[in-house]
């Protein structure tokens, strides 16, 4: 079977690219680093990839607002490239800053590149948050996450992660089943209170997909828990499987099964 090529896209200030690379590799993908300039200047193209991954970090320093400068770059120079990638059935994942970029591109939540419908605003706490939270996935349009994966521990590391949209947008997101992950308490119930909901996201939304189900964006970092030792309490909680693993496994499985 052909390798599943994963494009780990970099910009100035991308800083979670190594662990994302490792996560895809560990679960059978064939990741490669691609700098945005290499797509803009065309020595590289998305034609060679099945998965496009936008890592976390501080692209262009979070200047103006997080992910904005990179989003403008994608819209201005790579709109066709990305639209064609989607038409070919490629999957896109954006984590943390990558999610911020996808939202500011308009790719999430409604798949309209160039039209922004929601935002990720500064955390209610007013500052960066580095902590572990619980997430639960739910039945959604996301084509590659069809199971019930239970409540999992995930790292959050961000200053602007409050998912925000007007009432109409939120309603549309909910009725179209675009919410993939919510912040939950230990019983798995969505939670609004701090710090379990680390940023004050409306409807406890932590991750969403688009109507095609092929784009996933989330603030927490599944790629920071693909080895047992990455979790702070691995010495006291005897966990069998790292909680971030399933996302990468399922993305790669989906590509393999659908090609």
């Amino acid at each position: 079977m052909k390798k599943v090529n994963v494009c780990i896209l970099q910009s100035d200030g991308t800083n979670c690219d190594n662990e994302l690379f490792y996560a895809f590799k560990k679960f059978g993908g064939n990741p490669q680093f691609v700098h945005i300039n290499e797509l803009r200047n065309r020595p590289k193209t998305l034609k060679d990839f099945r998965i496009l991954a936008l890592p976390g970090g501080f692209s262009y320093g979070d200047d103006v607002v997080s992910g904005k400068i990179w989003a403008i770059e994608l819209i201005s120079f790579l709109r066709d490239e990305i639209e064609n990638f989607r038409k070919r059935g490629g999957l896109i994942i954006g984590i943390c800053n990558g999610f911020q970029v996808l939202v500011r591109c308009g790719l999430l939540p409604f798949g309209n590149m160039g039209k922004m419908d929601a935002t990720l605003a500064p955390n209610d706490s007013g500052h960066f948050e580095c902590r572990w939270v619980d997430l639960k996935n739910e039945k959604s349009k996301c084509v590659f996450l069809k199971g019930d994966y239970g409540v999992g521990h995930f790292a959050v590391n961000h200053g602007e992660g409050k998912f925000l949209g007007n009432a109409e947008t939120l309603k549309k997101i909910e009725t179209q089943n675009l919410v993939v992950f919510r912040y939950v308490d230990s019983d798995g119930n969505p939670i609004q209170s701090y710090p379990e909901n680390p940023n004050g996201s409306l409807n406890a939304i932590a991750g969403v997909t688009d109507p095609s189900g092929r784009i996933l964006g989330l603030m927490p970092h599944p790629e920071k828990f693909v080895d047992i030792t990455q979790y702070p309490n691995w010495r006291r909680e005897k966990l069998i499987k790292p909680h971030g693993a399933f996302i990468f496994e399922e993305m790669i499985n989906y590509i393999k099964e659908n090609s």
């Binding site: 200030g13 979070d62 400068i69 935002t119 580095c130 790292a155 030792t229």
Partner: protein, 880 residues
């Protein structure tokens, strides 16, 4: 014409202001809609204010606003070309605390954002004719050299029969500054009339006796030791006190940026893995009337240094997962900001290549501005209330992203074997970096090529500017094309600024004008070795209030609340939650673990290579209050604490290296005598443990002098940092109690006899070895080292992590003794404890219990919750 876009936010600041030069209002509208304003939760105006009663705070002209480059880039991507721009914030009614050194209130709309100045001319300074008084005047507030050094310079120019240019004088002052030349550490020392080996020689001599793991020590920007699989790890810690005292945010940021560059500029380039942040400040509640003139309030400093680590470390993506805070009133004029960093690089690229004739000196990264001028000379000077006015240029704001992309480019070029050597542009700027690289072979430099942030810099200013985020690459000419291509990919600017030429001279040009020409031999060999006299002062015993053993149950509980809320001991979790300590995915021991992830750990353990089991462990120790009262035993304590932190998590001290940082008051005879004792302690410690110091730095200017004769010395401080390797990161342990009914053991030799805590450094290595082995064999459930606050604090913190309590029986004095080098260990049962710790001092204290209480037989019982409130409250109050 400037277009002003205001974006309204719902909080205070009420608006972000963007001033855009060189575009039409129509273009400003495009930028407002596509770049600045998000219509989901924001609105905007163009050239129209939103509120009337607002105060706008902006960076001063000439201070780099890191956001500007991004705005210009994004505008260009939207086909709008800006000539210049700026961003600022508007606040309703009242201005927030800001630093007038770098920011100001905008009172009048600017008409242009461009700084237009004519290039300053190079001046010739008639030094040959000067009398001593004039020489000293020339030195004061500018060159910071002493009379003997000024006369050496005078003699040289008399000999070559011309006067120096301003650039040449600046070059000499920078190269010969205490900061760069470490004159005190290299000086011939006379202590109480007897000759002693120079401090640095003493350290090196002892260190080289333990060179098993050393790859390189004392020769590069960081110390390098062996790792696994053909890799090496490197470490460095550095203070940035002087700038932080007058502008803590910019100072601490550039402190971080500087030490990261030291790591990367090791050999042919290393990757930064982790950072440590150590701050010594006055207590945040120090009364205003106690603050000397020209100093900032300590709570402002505390908040701003934390914000700096957050904003720089998080952005650049280097986890900040080890650090500490130390509070003492005497830090109110000159606080300590000490940043450490650790990296990894291939062993065969750990040594710098020597520049060859025709190699290029290429500067990459940020542009050069007036910022940071005189940093090297300034940081070597005693601080006074004039400092702020005279040296305002010595501070700047860091741009983490500029540094990040520069690092990315260097690592790719290194892996393609393009680089001969990497040097960072830190203190002394181009002068220091190019000079040092060219010392043996000679170099010609063309300053007009340097890309500038704004026009108007004189050649000497370009030459010694300390603008951040610049690196010097020594490159064989044939690699230039490939190297430039890589830099372009990462949006990194490259400038071939000079060429190594075999002249053994430093020749500097600005266009066709020769602005400097110095023999390398004089520049690097001309500085006379100082002879310095020191006096050993007998130290008065340290009074330790902690050892006043409470007499009643209530007395105990009050006492514990007092200890646990002390600045050095209380929980720093609110701070750590703002630092990204998790980026890179390498953490194998987080700063906090336990049921509620609130139990603090002793050291950081990371797995630098994600698919390998190898661990890198990092820890540190210092005790300024103790070093102040007894420089020798305080230093032994600091080193013992550092290594105990390292071993408490499972580190093997025999595979560790040390970094020593000395932060000392201006070395007059008495302070030099104390420094001498401190260095002796470091050497004795190396000898006892048979491990080397491989890097370090001294900062001998922790003295403040007010105009009214008021003098304040910061507590003399030795910080020992430890880093090393372990073959399997899984064989490490956290501090949180793991089980109910397990056995609690106090391991190590406490000093209960003396007022001051003497540590038995003969027994220490035996204790460390037993702890390491016990953890390695998997027999230890939890371990935490004893530090300030004594074993009771250690046990308390382990209970916090374990959400449990303890029932113990032990002498009250032992519970409070702060002897470093001791440990609290949790094991399954007493038999195991007896087997593990046979042959070293240990005592079984009791058992863990489900009830969340501290129960000490015959002394007291209290709820963990009550103590935890006292422990958590102080930093929650500062940081919310």
């Amino acid at each position: 014409m400037i277009q002003t876009v205001r974006v309204r936010t719902n909080k205070n600041p009420t608006a972000k202001v963007y001033r855009l030069e060189g575009i039409t209002e129509k273009q400003a509208k495009i930028l407002a809609e596509k770049l600045f304003c998000e219509n989901i939760n924001q609105t905007y105006t163009i050239n129209k204010s939103i509120f009337f009663n607002v105060i706008e705070i902006a960076y001063k002209m000439g201070v780099m606003n890191p956001e500007v480059a991004s705005i210009i880039k994004a505008a260009r991507d939207l086909k709008v070309n800006l000539i210049a721009c700026d961003s600022s914030k508007e606040y309703l009614n009242k201005a927030p605390a800001f630093n007038p050194l770098i920011e100001n209130i905008v009172k009048k709309e600017p008409t242009t954002l461009l700084i237009k100045e004519r290039v300053g001319k190079t001046a010739v300074v008639p030094i040959r004719e000067m009398e001593d008084k004039e020489l000293l005047l020339l030195s004061k507030d500018k060159l910071f050299l002493n009379l003997e050094e000024m006369k050496t310079i005078q003699n040289y120019f008399q000999k070559i029969k011309r006067d120096p240019t301003d650039l040449e004088l600046e070059t000499l002052a920078q190269t010969w500054s205490e900061h760069c030349a470490h004159k005190t550490f290299k000086a011939k020392l006379v202590v109480d009339g007897k000759n002693k080996m120079p401090l640095i020689e003493r350290i090196k001599k002892e260190a080289y006796k333990h060179k098993k793991n050393i790859v390189s020590a004392f020769v590069d920007n960081s110390g390098v030791m062996d790792f696994y699989d053909g890799l090496a790890i490197n470490g460095k810690a550095e203070t940035h006190n002087a700038p932080s005292a007058i502008e803590p945010y910019g100072g601490a940021m550039t402190g971080s940026g500087g030490v990261f560059r030291d790591i990367v500029a090791t050999g042919q380039g290393a990757k930064c893995l982790i950072s440590t942040d150590i701050f010594c400040l006055a207590p945040p509640n120090t009364p205003k009337n106690k603050l000397p003139a020209g100093t900032l309030p300590p709570d402002y400093i505390l908040k701003r240094v934390v914000a700096a680590v957050r904003d720089y470390g998080n952005r650049i993506g280097i986890p900040s997962n080890n650090g500490s805070f130390h509070f003492h009133e005497d830090f109110r004029a000159k606080p300590i900001v000490l940043v450490g960093s650790y990296g990894i690089l291939p062993r065969n690229k750990a040594e710098k290549g020597k520049p060859k004739i025709a190699d290029l000196a290429v500067v990459i990264g940020g542009k050069t501005g007036r910022d940071g001028i005189h940093g090297a000379t300034f940081s070597s000077a005693v601080m006074s209330e004039k400092t702020v006015k005279v040296n305002a240029t010595a501070v700047q704001i860091g741009n983490a992203i500029e540094e990040k992309r520069t690092f990315d480019a260097i690592l790719e070029a290194r892996d393609k074997d393009l680089i001969r050597a990497v040097q960072d542009l830190g203190a002394g700027g181009l002068s220091s970096a190019i000079g040092e690289m060219g010392e043996k072979v000679g170099v010609t430099v063309h300053l007009e090529k340097a890309p500038l942030k704004y026009q108007g810099l004189s050649p000497w200013e370009i030459w010694v500017s300390e603008s951040q985020e610049r690196m010097l690459i020594v490159l064989p000419k044939k690699n230039l094309k490939e190297f430039v291509k890589i830099c372009k990919k990462y949006n990194v600017e490259t400038t071939e600024i000079g060429e190594f030429d075999g002249s053994k001279r430093l020749q500097v040009f600005y266009g066709k004008e020769k602005v400097g020409d110095l023999e390398m031999k004089f520049l690097y060999g001309g500085l006379p070795q100082r002879v310095m006299h020191a006096t050993n002062v007998k130290v008065a015993p340290w009074s330790r209030s902690h050892l006043n053993i409470p007499k009643t149950k209530k007395g105990w509980i009050n006492h514990l609340e007092k200890i646990l809320s002390h600045g050095n001991i209380n929980s720093k979790e609110p701070i750590l939650r703002m630092y990204d300590h998790n980026v890179q995915g390498t953490n194998a021991l987080h700063p906090f673990t336990g049921v509620g992830m609130d139990g603090p750990n002793d050291a950081a353990v990371i797995k630098p290579i994600l698919d390998k089991p190898y661990g890198l462990i990092v820890s540190h120790g210092l005790n300024p209050a103790f070093t102040m009262s007894d420089p020798y035993w305080g230093s032994i304590w600091a080193a013992s604490e550092a290594i105990s932190n390292y071993v408490a998590v499972g580190g093997d001290y025999k595979n560790a290296s040390l970094i020593n940082n000395y932060i000392w008051p201006f070395p007059d005879e008495e302070w030099l005598g104390k420094l001498d004792r401190c260095v002796d302690a470091v050497c004795d410690f190396m000898k006892a443990l048979k491990i080397p110091v491989i890097s370090g730095k001294d900062s001998l200017s922790a003295t403040y002098r007010g105009s009214n004769g008021f003098v304040l010395h910061s507590p003399p401080t030795l910080c020992i940092s430890v880093f090393g390797r372990i073959p399997d990161a899984k064989k490490t342990i956290s501090s949180d109690f793991k089980k109910i009914g397990s056995t609690i053991v106090l391991v190590g030799k406490q000093d209960l006899e003396n007022e001051i805590s003497y540590i038995d450094i003969k027994i220490l290595p035996k204790v460390l070895e037993k702890i390491y082995k016990a953890i390695k064999e998997g027999q230890v459930l939890a371990c935490h080292d004893v530090s300030e606050g004594g074993p009771i604090t250690t046990i308390f913190e382990m209970c916090v992590g374990g959400n449990c309590g303890v029932k113990i029986k032990v002498d009250g004095k032992k519970l409070l003794s702060e002897t470093a080098g001791c440990f609290i260990v949790e094991v399954k049962n007493e038999e195991i404890a007896k087997k593990l710790f046979k042959g070293i001092p240990y005592e079984i204290l009791g058992k863990t219990i489900k009830d969340e209480k501290l129960m000490v037989e015959n002394l007291f019982t209290t709820d963990i919750d009550r103590l935890q409130k006292a422990w958590s409250r102080p930093m929650m109050e500062v940081f919310g």
